[in-house]
């Protein structure tokens, strides 16, 4: 193999370039409008950074308000976009570098909520622990921007840049607490592991690129199957190469070429995919790669821990879903013997077992929550494996699946992705509340995060203890809370797939949820039924953390009670999720919308009938009335802000009134 290729055209012909320039810049403007939430966050991070240069120490609150304003604008833009028909099929922007689809928009809303909540209580925390620094808000916005790039990524380059943008900002936030010896240590541990995993990721991307010659996700999903077709075609020539006697020399040469060209891409692709998988498992902290998690979570300032536990996890799972559920969906790559699902399934089981067993013996609340987040990653990975198995099901040899079976598999895969999204959002809300509570306790450089310091908390601060209890119960998976329905949806999806291994792991997961109850309940019992400490450890001044905790507790319950409505939104996001963006995606979303409309119309009819049986006045107008399309669009959009952690604008106002 040599470089026998012609010169690469670097620039278009001058004559053509002049005409293209104007249309290209116009197109870039249109693309920026489609990306409005992301653009606002990116630009705002710079505005906040510049504003900090002119801020006096007394004006820190202005910084916070300014950041919340920007996040509020971004939420408004994302709410306007999410659920809109235009994005049903996914739009390519910047020549396919990024996509705007319902999936990305839902993740945007989630991460914007997380960022808003973290900004709300981080300022008070930093002030109280005497390490206030002005770059904090800007760093949160940069990390948020990185997560949004991940959600929108349509290219491996975008994916790499998103992960790096997110991680580098978070490394700084972890190590920013200069008056503590733990914070830089946590930052170094996180940094070394993170940088190591980005090295793996980059090498993986290089190998995948080498195997396929493309980096765009939509082209990749096509090219990946070509790699395996070529590989299978080369198998016929392997016999000739292995036993060349009796064949003419020319044929042996040709066979050697065919084998080399057919096998080389697969030989590059499989290690490449595994390296990328390893790197992403590092980022989500799945088991063999989870060592950094408890140390980094414990040493980091609590608001930063909250961002890592909620925001970074959302970003890493968005990347995992994009690549492994959306792009590398080829039977050979998903299923045994070369597939990744069989490995990841058992890693998921190991992740929850290790996370839960380690959490049981923790005496520090932050470490306990860190291990509990590892356990949650295990549950989520079961969902990822289920989704990929549905999409990438390879039929038995000599059997062609019918159209019905095919439709069922894609439908079930969509539901699995929706369950993962639901679980992620429910988990993010609950974990944000829990860390808000952790950050509120303790003052003057001393965090009260040892478990024994929490005993009798309910007597001293009944409201805080109640909020924390609701969040912990949601994490545990108590029925009315969001965490329960998240587990229910994910496990049901996994169980629906007929594979035996998946069913065994679901049983392991259910047993693990019970083990998890031990340490959550122990903390709750200690808050309510133990006598309080003699000495009051004090708490952080300011209302940010209690507001976030209250909002998180309320949302945990709301997500649980309104599980149906919330799941409908996740379903909308996942129906249009699969890469590549195509007409088929939009059609699937249309089908879903039609179903919902029908269901709603039926519910209306039933309600009208019931009203008619009682002394009915309005009964006449209800039956047969078609819900108009506009209302259908507005409903998800209007309800969306309540679907993620904390709505920044309203809370910002509340805080401003206070301060």
């Amino acid at each position: 193999m040599t470089f026998a290729l012609g010169p690469v055209p670097l620039l278009p012909e001058p004559a053509a370039a002049a005409g293209q320039a104007t249309t290209a810049s116009a197109q870039a403007l249109v693309d920026m409008v489609h990306l409005a939430p992301m653009m606002i966050v990116g630009i705002w991070s710079l505005i906040v950074l510049v504003a900090d240069a002119f801020a006096r120490p007394g004006l820190r609150r202005f910084q916070q308000t300014l950041t919340l304003l920007g996040l509020g604008l971004a939420v408004l833009a994302a709410v306007g976009q999410f659920g809109h028909y235009e994005y049903d099929g996914g739009i390519e922007v910047f020549s396919g570098f990024l996509y705007v689809d319902q999936f990305a928009l839902l993740v945007d809303l989630g991460i914007l909520g997380v960022a808003g909540a973290v900004v709300l209580f981080a300022g008070d925390y930093n002030r109280s622990h005497r390490f206030e620094y002005g770059e904090h808000e800007s760093l949160v916005l940069i990390a948020t921007f990185g997560v949004m790039i991940l959600a929108h990524a349509g290219d491996l380059v975008a994916l790499f840049l998103g992960i790096e943008t997110m991680s580098i900002a978070v490394y700084v936030m972890v190590g920013a607490r200069w008056n503590s010896r733990q914070s830089p240590e946590a930052a170094l541990k996180y940094f070394v592991m993170g940088a190591f995993s980005s090295g793996l990721l980059l090498m993986g991307i290089a190998l995948v690129y080498g195997a396929t010659g493309v980096t765009g996700l939509d082209q990749l999903s096509h090219e990946v199957s070509t790699v395996f077709t070529k590989w299978r075609a080369a198998q016929d020539y392997v016999a000739v190469v292995e036993a060349p006697e009796g064949f003419p020399a020319g044929m042996v040469d040709m066979a050697q070429d065919k084998v080399a060209l057919g096998i080389a891409p697969a030989a590059l692709l499989i290690p490449g995919v595994l390296l990328v998988l390893g790197a992403l498992l590092f980022k989500v902290s799945a088991v063999p790669f989870h060592m950094w998690t408890p140390d980094a979570y414990e040493g980091a300032p609590s608001p930063t821990t909250a961002f890592m536990a909620a925001g970074v996890k959302i970003g890493a799972f968005a990347a995992l879903l994009k690549l492994f559920v959306g792009t590398f969906i080829v039977g050979s790559l998903v299923q045994a013997p070369y597939g990744w699902t069989s490995v990841v399934l058992w890693l998921a089981a190991a992740t929850m077992i290790v996370g839960n067993l380690a959490a049981v013996r923790q005496t520090n609340v932050k470490r306990l929550l860190a291990y509990s987040s590892v356990a949650h990653v295990g549950y989520l990975l079961v969902g990822v494996v289920a989704a990929a198995s549905f999409y990438g099901d390879r039929p038995a040899k000599g059997y062609l699946p019918t159209a019905d079976e095919h439709a069922w598999a894609s439908n079930a895969g969509d539901t699995a992705v929706a369950s993962i999204l639901y679980y992620l959002l429910a988990y993010a809300v609950a974990t944000l509340g829990a860390f808000a509570c952790v950050s509120w306790l303790g003052r003057d450089k001393k965090e009260a995060s040892a478990a024994h310091e929490w005993s009798g908390l309910a007597q001293r601060h009944p409201g805080i203890a109640l909020g924390m209890t609701v969040c912990l119960l949601s994490l545990m998976g108590m029925p009315p809370m969001g965490g329960f329905f998240g587990k229910l949806f994910v496990f049901r999806s996994a169980f629906e797939h007929g594979s035996e291994a998946l069913r065994i792991v679901v049983v392991i997961a259910v047993v693990n949820s019970v083990i998890g109850a031990v340490y959550y309940l122990r903390l709750i019992v200690s808050m309510y039924f133990r006598p309080p400490l003699e000495r009051d450890l004090g708490h952080v001044e300011g209302r940010g953390a209690p507001v976030v905790l209250a909002a998180a507790a309320a949302l945990s319950v709301l997500i649980g009670i309104g599980a149906d409505a919330m799941m409908q939104r996740c379903r909308l996001a996942s129906a249009g999720f699969r890469i590549p963006p195509s007409e088929a995606r939009a059609e699937r979303v249309d089908e879903l919308r039609a179903q919902w409309e029908q269901r709603e119309a039926e519910a209306d009819r039933k309600a009208a009938q019931e009203e008619g049986q009682q002394p009915g006045q309005k009964a006449g107008q209800q039956p047969g009335q078609q819900p108009d399309e506009k209302a259908q669009v507005e409903v998800p959009a209007a309800a969306a802000p309540s679907a993620e952690g904390g709505t920044p604008p309203a809370e910002a106002e509340a805080l401003d009134d206070g301060g």
Binding site: M1, T2, F3, A4, L5, G6, V8, L10, L156, V157, F160, L161, E164, I168, Y171, V172, G175, W178, R181, Q182, P184, E185, A186, A187, L188, K189, F191, V192, A195, F196, S198, G199, L200, L202, M203, I205, A206, L207, Y209, G210, G213, V214, T215, P294, D295, E298, G299, A358, Q362, R367
Partner: protein, 100 residues
Amino acid sequence: MVPITHFLYLASTLFVIGLLGVMLRRNVLIVLMSVELMLNGANIALVAFSRFHGNLDGQVLAMFTIAVAAAEAAVGLAIVVSIFRSRTGSDIDDLSLLRD
């Protein structure tokens, strides 16, 4: 003409040296340098593949990686400096405040 395999040998050698360096060496600065080696090994592979496939995607990613590696090195060294302020020595095993 140098065949692509030679570039890949170089790239994978650099990558593996970096990988082993991160896992085996205990000095923080050497660990940081090893991470850089990993990234640069991947860069060489990207550029070689880019030339081989005749498109520029790999080279673009390599350019981005150089910028990202610089940012990462800046943050990493800043963290190391902030650790040196409170203790002496640069052995990664001495970092044992946070543990189970």
